[in-house]
């Protein structure tokens, strides 16, 4: 489904992402772990077309994302770490706006919005302007807007930021349901528990390089070796790279 080949991003002399290779298969819930500043958001922004790679390629179903951006973006739903939305639009208008960008007709958008209201429990405030929303409310509108066109691949950057426990639980459930229905999710996070709880595959990036890329079972096995302490394992893995 998604393949990163020798992907690199440099900002001047600084290498944020260092020729990484990754493969994400259809239906996987792929956890992309890493400490702050490891290169997670940079990688995600390159996949979504917001940052151009300095080297390497990104393929989505065999299509080069940067050579055929329109075709590949049609298949992606992106949820950024900061839910910036147009503050003078209401939640409903924002969803109509998003649907229109993905060439959906009004009837479909209307149905999809009703569906999202039900799933994400956003009915109480969807007709208020987003400038009045809390961070969590904005996050849910952004999630709804990413789902509206039924994307084959959902790219999520730090999905739990700003969400209360109920919303976080809801989002995790939605992600699991989506992957069960064949949608692929590529999720960056530094929340180890979230990865452990819902992901099927995991990759750890540190200082721009991939240091672990395996199934979640491998991570479990490594965790057992570390007295069931995932946090300790993560610190050890990222520290080893530093040494």
């Amino acid at each position: 489904m998604l393949e990163l080949k020798e992907l690199e991003k440099k900002f001047g002399n600084f290498t944020a992402v260092n020729k990484i290779n990754l493969k994400v298969n259809k239906g996987q819930l792929f956890g992309f772990l890493g400490p702050n500043g490891a290169g997670k958001t940079t990688t995600i922004k390159m996949i979504c077309g917001l940052l151009s790679p300095s080297y390497g390629n990104i393929f989505l179903d065999g299509i080069d994302v940067w050579k055929n951006p329109i075709e590949s973006k049609m298949k992606i739903g992106y949820i950024p770490d900061q839910p910036f939305v147009y503050d003078k639009l209401t939640g409903r208008e924002y969803l109509y706006f998003s649907g229109g960008l993905f060439k959906l007709d009004k009837k479909t958008i209307k149905l999809k919005i009703e569906e999202q209201i039900e799933t994400l429990k956003i009915g109480n405030w969807i007709d208020k302007r987003t400038e009045e929303y809390s961070q969590g409310m904005k996050q849910r509108i952004v999630i709804a807007s990413a789902f509206i066109h039924n994307p084959e691949l959902i790219i999520v950057d730090e999905p739990m930021v700003g969400l209360d426990p109920q919303s976080a639980f809801l989002v995790k459930k939605i992600f699991k349901d989506k992957t069960a229905n064949g949608t692929t999710i590529f999720m960056s996070t530094h929340s180890l528990n979230v990865v452990e709880e819902i992901c099927t595959h995991v990759s750890i990036i540190n200082k721009g390089s991939i240091i672990l890329n395996d199934s979640i079972d491998t991570l479990h096995r490594l965790k057992v070796e570390k007295n069931n302490n995932l946090e300790e394992l993560f610190i050890q893995l990222t520290n080893e790279e530093d040494e």
């Binding site: 917001l50 900061q82 910036f84 003078k88 998003s98 649907g99 229109g100 060439k103």
Partner: protein, 562 residues
């Protein structure tokens, strides 16, 4: 005081670091800007010097009348600065994240007010001061003023600007208190009426035409530098713009005693208003800040979103992507009070301008040279107006996408579609305004000149729109939400300077055919319109080049990393 200095020190430090991030594109951008600024400064110097020479020696306007015309220009400038300051001060004092941050710290609100007041006053003033300096230098060189006189002339400008800045802040503080009592709609409508009323009243009692006619009664003495202040309406003598022009008049006459009298009044008023602004800031700022929070939250609670003509649920004949971007832009615009108020004021000014211009009759004036100058001045004024509209509404278009731009950039929409759709709305308005001005101001010259004027307007409008769009993209600042601040930023000034070069280029090309045409009308000689259409070739070539490169610039800016 220590706290103020501490905050100012870090503000300055962050500004310097922000402005000195080195890269090749930064170097190119800044060298280019520097060259254009330098060229413009030199241009402004020669423009000022030659314009004065032309008015004094060719038109024989006389010192007094020339300074009165300067006074009128200064009045327009003063009123624009006051209005701009009310809007910008609202954003700076009440809606900035910096104030929200500082207010949570143990700092006296008066100090916050003082810091933001300075912020407001110095923002974008550097370019303005540079232009003023060049214009004043041209003035000083023409009149062969000494260095002391030149410095004194510049010193005269500072209290004038301070008065306008303080007045804007004082009015804003009063407005917020009034809004709490009478509501937003009544107060804003009242302010618009008072503002436009004062402009209309000024020009009604003191029209340039009336002034010239009054002065002509004293012909031939008008060019003998006589002081005709008794001919001015009484109220004019109480206005800062008049004090400034009168002070300049006496500097030229080498009479410092009289000049200093006007400077003293100007200075005293600016200090008085500064003290009043600080006093009101000390007494009212924190309360006004809280009131503003209360008013905005009450307003938000009462507000019901009306599904308007532009509602997303309504069907449209546009493609879905175009419709989405267009409706989003319209809703974002009409729901931002500062945008809509400014737009309505400019719309009203456009209508007033169009109707005033259509009333000007100057075909009967005997001197064809004077006719040419009036015609070209009118053309330049029209182009200047188009340029102002482009700067205000086109330049900020890309920046105003803000940090929410990720949605559009990560969607399957072609960059060209984004560019075209964003442009269509305001470009149509600007083109319509330009065409309206062209048709109404040129009908007295017959169909031939009207058609020519329409073609020139079309080229000029599209070119100036393109310049503002391209430079707006190059200097895009997605963190600034205020369109007026964007329109007075460094990039905006650069766009404006390029517009002025372009306007002067067109006006210079028009000089020969226009004067020949007006001469032919005077001596009833047949005029061949081909000489008009010949100048369309260089205009067309230059415009096409500018349009092409500006759109490339805008296109590239949308493809930059986000």
């Amino acid at each position: 005081m220590n706290q103020i200095i501490h905050i100012l020190k870090y503000k300055l430090l962050s500004y310097i670091r922000l402005e000195s991030k080195f890269s090749i594109s930064y170097l190119i951008k800044n060298t280019g800007s520097g060259l254009i600024y330098a060229a413009f400064t030199v241009g402004a110097f020669f423009f000022s010097k030659n314009l004065i020479r032309f008015l004094i020696q060719d038109i024989r306007l006389g010192l007094f009348l020339m300074h009165e015309l300067v006074s009128i220009v200064l009045f327009i400038f003063f009123m624009s600065v006051v209005l701009g300051n009310i809007i910008v001060a609202y954003a700076t004092l009440f809606k900035s994240n910096e104030v929200n941050y500082l207010i949570t710290k143990p700092i006296q609100p008066t100090k916050i007010f003082f810091i933001k007041f300075l912020d407001n006053f110095f923002y974008s003033s550097s370019t303005l001061l540079m232009i003023l300096f060049a214009l004043l230098a041209g003035y000083a060189v023409y009149f062969e003023l000494s260095i002391v006189s030149f410095v004194f002339l510049i010193l005269n400008f500072i209290p004038f600007m301070l008065t306008a800045g303080c007045l804007g802040v004082i009015v804003l503080l009063i407005l917020i208190r009034l809004v709490n009592i009478f509501g937003v709609t009544k107060v804003v409508s009242g302010m618009v009426i008072v503002y436009l009323g004062s402009i209309v009243l000024y020009f009604d009692s003191y029209s340039p035409l009336l002034l010239v006619q009054t002065m002509l009664k004293h012909y031939p003495y008008i060019d003998r530098d006589t002081y005709f202040s008794h001919l001015l309406p009484g109220f004019v003598q109480f206005l800062p713009n008049n004090w400034l022009s009168q002070s300049a008049f006496w500097i030229v006459k080498n009479d410092f005693t009289n000049s200093f009298k006007f400077f003293q009044i100007q200075f005293a008023l600016s200090i008085l208003l500064f003290v009043i602004a600080l006093y009101l800031g000390h007494r009212w700022f924190f309360n006004a800040w809280l009131l503003n929070l209360k008013i905005t939250s009450e307003f938000k609670l009462r507000r019901k979103e009306i599904t308007t003509f532009f509602g997303f649920e309504r069907k449209s004949f546009f493609r879905s992507q175009v419709e989405s971007i267009l409706k989003k832009d319209i809703l974002m615009f009409v729901r931002e009070p500062s945008q809509i108020i400014h737009f309505l004021i400019l719309l009203l000014l456009t209508i007033i301008f169009i109707s005033s211009v259509s009333g000007i009759k100057f075909v009967g004036i005997g001197n064809y040279n004077l006719q040419t100058i009036i015609y070209l001045s009118l053309t330049l004024f029209k182009l200047f107006f188009i340029s102002t509209l482009s700067l205000r509404f086109i330049y900020p278009l890309i920046s105003l996408e803000g940090q929410s731009f990720w949605k559009l950039k990560s969607s399957p929409v072609k960059t060209n579609t984004i560019l075209k759709t964003k442009l269509v709305l305001f470009s149509s308005f600007i083109l319509l305004a330009g065409f309206g001005l062209s048709v109404l101001s040129k009908t007295q010259f017959g169909i031939g000149l009207t058609i020519f004027s329409l073609i020139i307007t079309m080229f000029a409008s599209v070119t100036m729109i393109a310049i503002n769009f391209g430079i707006g993209g190059l200097f895009a600042n997605y963190k600034e939400k205020n369109a007026i601040r964007l329109s007075s930023s460094q990039g905006a000034t650069l766009a404006f300077l390029l517009n002025i070069f372009y306007m002067l280029f067109i006006t210079m090309l028009m000089f020969k055919p226009v004067s020949e045409f007006l001469l032919s009308r005077m001596i009833h000689f047949t005029f061949d319109f081909i000489s008009f259409y010949k100048i369309l070739i260089p205009v067309g070539v230059l415009s096409s080049l500018i349009i092409f490169f500006s759109f490339r610039l805008a296109y590239k800016s949308l493809q930059k990393d986000f």
